[in-house]
């Protein structure tokens, strides 16, 4: 499905470029073009994923290529939802280039790790595995949004504290809006992460009777879970908001990156090519 993925890529690139231009020039028309390109890209991307699914005969979330493509799709969906809820396109200036980059890597990458397919199919609760991975990819996408929102918060807060209102000040949404986005997405991300971890445990136990493998990825995932739980509890109880919460959002994402990519380097039971 390479040609289709390339079309998806070009739509996302158009969306990303226009989003950046809109951010720089503050032009409504550019925002609309960006939005339209994103929508078209997302629709084609959905088709591409489904085609992959049918062609390959398995859920399109295996190997580096598929995972990156799926992650990009997830990010596009998450961004779309936030756009719908908060109407702030400036988030796209940070998110859309990443989406385009992920699809670009996915379109040039070759799958090497398809050997893992055998290890996850052909057992009792096979449907749990796609559920497990999908939930986690959506959780990671949410945490990426928390990360971007946290960065935006820190930038905007700095502008307000130093009173040096430059380009950023005029273009970013209000502190409260950014804070709301971060809080809401952190909550959604944590819920998805919890469900993702639980479904993974269930799948694992149905496959080989073990809930836990002491695997680095599992440990990181639990650490991540604890950190976001902390973030949300603090926000809820101690009124721990603003700057410190934003820094926690950044730190949390570093941990997410470790879970997602880092364990691959350490060597992990979870190494199915990603």
């Amino acid at each position: 499905m390479r040609p289709l993925l390339l079309t998806v890529l070009s739509a996302y690139v158009v969306a990303a470029i226009h989003s950046i231009l809109a951010f720089v020039n503050k032009r409504r028309t550019l925002e609309r073009i960006s939005l339209f390109a994103l929508f078209a890209g997302f629709m084609l991307h959905t088709v591409a994923l489904m085609a992959d699914w049918i062609e390959e005969g398995h859920y399109p979330l295996f190997g580096l290529r598929e995972t990156l493509s799926f992650l990009a799709w997830t990010l596009a969906a998450t961004y779309g939802l936030i756009l719908y809820r908060y109407r702030t396109q400036s988030l796209g200036t940070f998110t859309l280039p990443l989406i385009a980059l992920l699809v670009f890597i996915a379109s040039v990458a070759r799958d090497t790790g398809s050997t893992a397919t055998g290890t996850v199919t052909g057992n009792g609760a096979a449907w749990l595995f796609p559920l497990h991975t999908t939930l986690l990819v959506f959780a990671y996408a949410s945490f990426f949004v928390v990360f971007v929102a946290s960065i935006m918060y820190l930038l905007q807060e700095r502008e307000l504290k130093l009173k040096t209102f430059g380009a950023i000040f005029h273009r970013l949404p209000s502190l409260t809006t950014i804070n709301d986005i971060a809080t809401t997405t952190a909550g959604i991300g944590l819920t998805l992460l919890t469900l993702g971890i639980l479904s993974g445990m269930l799948w694992s136990s149905s496959r080989d009777g073990r809930l836990w493998h002491n695997d680095p990825k599992e440990i990181f995932a639990v650490l991540t879970w604890l950190l976001y739980l902390l973030l949300i509890l603090y926000r809820a109880t101690a009124g721990w908001r603003g700057r410190r919460a934003a820094w926690l959002g950044v730190a949390g994402f570093a941990l997410v990156l470790c879970t997602f990519f880092g364990t691959r380097l350490i060597g992990s039971y979870h190494n199915f090519g990603f």
Partner: protein
């Protein structure tokens, strides 16, 4: 046909001159009827605001110098002021320059505060007065219509009106940057200075829910509370009120800090770290600058606000440069459409004249053709008309071209040859029809 604009504004004339020359709505209507004689001055419009008085006319056939004298005399007569009192404050623009000026005025590029929104409404008002007085026609209708379109483009495509340029409005703009919507927020006024009152008024206009007023003199607090639908609070309750307020505007005459870091920290704890926006417009300052170092508290003193205003004005000026480009391209387009607009009737009249000749000749010779079927009759008429159209086509083509290049002499010569009337003021020939006819004849 030429467009002439004569006027004065805040840049060229002091307020003393502007106010004497200003037109009330009634004076405007009467003046317009006096100005537009239907002979030389075909159309007229008067824009009169506190910052400008401008007379815009579409005229025919008189030299510009005479036009100017006429308009100056008109102003002098209409307002009963000797022309020496104001004539050296006047500026005048012709054709392209006049169109550009109208576009710039409507887009608020010529305003005292660039980007202010009122002027567009004032232009609209001036236009509707002229329409009521019956002094607008083909040219001004189109010009004003286009000016409104340009103003809309400038407003949406540039950030010319995006940021606040007054201290009192800064509270709203910065408040929005912190809280997003101001709906349902609480404002606390400490002290009741004029600037604080103005800021509060803007905030209430932006949807703020609750206004608390603390003032040494309780009567003043109560008076303002009544005005804003707010609550006057006792000075001793300040620490508690501070915890309730999202926006605090401080403007007391106190010589020491009213809001100290201790007080602020206490409030912050009570409101569980929700952000507070402090505006200190008092000199000496009433809010300890150290308050701004606490997390989630943002303190702006008068200097900060002035710096932001200055930077916003610079931002508007940058955006104004982009707006000028929009205006420039629109002026060019307008000039073209105007040319097409006023050549249309001439061409139409010419074509009709040719066709009438053909039809008359046919009618005269019809008897000699004997019995004809309806089809034959139609064919003969079509044949005659198409011959005539074919002959007239190069002439029309030539006329249109000399019009496009502005060769007025050629135009006049052709008009004289065929004894065509100059197009009258309000005859509106749709442009597209002309084009379609051209297609047919070629």
């Amino acid at each position: 046909m030429s467009i002439i604009l004569v006027g004065l504004n805040h840049k060229t004339a002091p307020v003393g001159v502007r106010e004497r020359l200003a037109f009330t709505d009634e004076a405007c209507a009467a003046g317009l009827r006096a100005l537009v004689d239907g002979e030389v001055v075909r159309e007229g419009l008067i824009v009169s605001t506190c910052n400008r008085v401008e007379v815009l006319t579409a005229t025919e056939g008189e030299r510009t110098a005479d036009q100017l004298t006429r308009i100056v005399k008109f102003l002098s007569d209409a307002r009963s002021i000797p022309s020496e009192d104001f004539s050296n404050h006047l500026y005048h623009h012709e054709d392209d320059a006049a169109v550009r000026h109208v576009f710039r005025v409507a887009s608020s590029l010529d305003s005292m505060v660039v980007g202010e929104p009122q002027v567009l409404g004032q232009v609209r008002r001036a236009y509707s007065l002229a329409v009521t007085a019956g002094t607008t026609g083909r040219v001004l209708n189109r010009l004003v219509h286009q000016a409104l379109h340009v103003a809309k483009r400038v407003r949406t495509e540039t950030g010319i009106a995006a940021s606040a340029v007054s201290i009192s409005y800064m509270a709203v703009e910065l408040g929005r940057k912190i809280f997003g919507s101001l709906k349902g927020r609480t404002v606390l006024l400490i002290g009741a200075g004029e600037m604080a009152e103005l800021s509060a008024r803007h905030l209430v206009g932006a949807g703020v829910g609750r206004v608390l007023i603390a003032n040494r003199t309780v009567e003043t607090a109560q008076r303002m509370a009544a005005e804003f639908g707010g609550e006057a609070i006792d000075y001793s309750r300040l620490p508690k009120s501070l915890a309730e307020a999202d926006i605090v505007i401080c403007s007391t005459g106190a010589s020491s800090y009213v809001v100290t870091p201790e007080l602020a920290r206490e409030a912050l704890e009570l409101r569980r770290n929700r952000p507070v926006f402090f505006i200190d417009i008092s000199v000496p300052r009433n809010i300890d600058p150290a308050v701004g170092e606490l997390p989630n508290l943002f303190v702006f003193d008068i200097d900060d606000l002035e710096a932001v205003v200055a930077s916003n004005i610079r931002e508007r000026e940058r955006e104004a440069e982009r707006a000028e480009l929009i205006v420039e391209s629109e002026v060019m387009q307008f000039q073209q459409s105007l040319r097409a607009l006023s050549i249309g009737p001439t061409l139409g009249a010419l074509r009709r004249k040719f066709q009438d000749v053909a039809r008359e000749e046919l009618a005269r010779q019809r008897n000699r053709l004997g019995q004809l079927s309806a089809e034959q009759e139609r064919a003969i008429e079509a044949l005659l008309l198409s011959t005539v159209n074919k002959i007239s086509h190069p002439i029309i083509h030539h006329l249109r071209r000399s019009y496009d290049t502005g060769e007025e002499e050629t135009m006049r010569a052709w008009r004289e040859v065929f004894r065509l009337e100059e197009p009258s003021g309000d005859e509106q020939i749709p442009l597209d029809d002309d084009e379609a006819d051209d297609e047919q004849t070629s």
